[in-house]
Symmetry: C2
Subunit: 205 residues, 2 copies
Amino acid sequence: MDNRALFKLSYGVFILSSKSGESFNACITNTCMQIANDPVRIAISVLNSNLTCDYIKDSGVFSVSVLDKTCIFDTIKHFGMQSGRNVNKFEGVKMPLDLNGVPYMQWSTCAVISAKVTESIDLGTHTMFIAEVTDMKVLSDEEPLTYADYHKDVKPKPQKIDEKKKIVGWRCKICGYVYEGEKLPEDFICPLCGHSADDFEPIYE
Amino acid sequence: MDNRALFKLSYGVFILSSKSGESFNACITNTCMQIANDPVRIAISVLNSNLTCDYIKDSGVFSVSVLDKTCIFDTIKHFGMQSGRNVNKFEGVKMPLDLNGVPYMQWSTCAVISAKVTESIDLGTHTMFIAEVTDMKVLSDEEPLTYADYHKDVKPKPQKIDEKKKIVGWRCKICGYVYEGEKLPEDFICPLCGHSADDFEPIYE
């Protein structure tokens, strides 16, 4: 099995927001697709360890802000590379609420889809939510950002490795997971957050 | 609700193959995403009226051939714009079989993912299949074709409309559905096959 085949599936890049009581949270996701008409339904898959997953389970509502090609790395970093358990991602961030009372993006976003969960499927590492679309808006004519665009144009290039120093491990820049060993396998997938070897930085002796 | 928001979701373009007894069938699909790790699972959504949907329900196995940017329109037309109920799409077409005995593409394809269904969810218009990946191969280094690329680069441009003749209806080029009326709404979605207004041709008086 060559896991690199999975990277050939095309995805967009989305900010997935939800609420729990008076609290909001959001994360970055790539998995959102339309799965049926009449009524229109979408499916998303979210890591069970994400706070946003708990919020969706709690409130049953979420919004998907479809990021466009004007998106900069700081936006991805803010929503995708820190946890709502440690920081309030909405502090000082102005975001309007959709009809379900869930915040959505106003910048770098070409469309927003609001939805109500009709079915949740626990898949162990992730939960898949099937949801009925309750509202949709087109916000701009900018082209949607694909996950391939993100890797090519938005994400900072990995730092050069200092070949004079001995590497003893690799740290996932997304969640902090540490892999012990000098060489990180190219097809390594972080067992904590599911990010790939590209998101690891070396730990020197 | 602005349905155009749905077109902002990014997708790939895939040939979805399955079998039933000794018969094979395949169709074009855009919806395939990884939904979990450990074991790796994917989800696809298929129109219930598609023969491939029946075959997947019958055999519980399918393969997803990820089309790449070398793909030409004839390939899409062959697998996506005629029904296996009327024609054997595999007659005279050489395709190898995966470990589940399901054919997959060898040309215009950068990767193939083979899977076994673990759960089927009937959504009325479509069935969503959740499936465990049983094998994956990378076939080439070509970039995957996105659905946006397909519209921009692969699909023939719509024919010029003859403004001297009176239009009395519009025919879906994919499934033959007829919309009666002079003007087809821009956001019209074919109720039979789910394709958009772009795929309709005028019927003149």
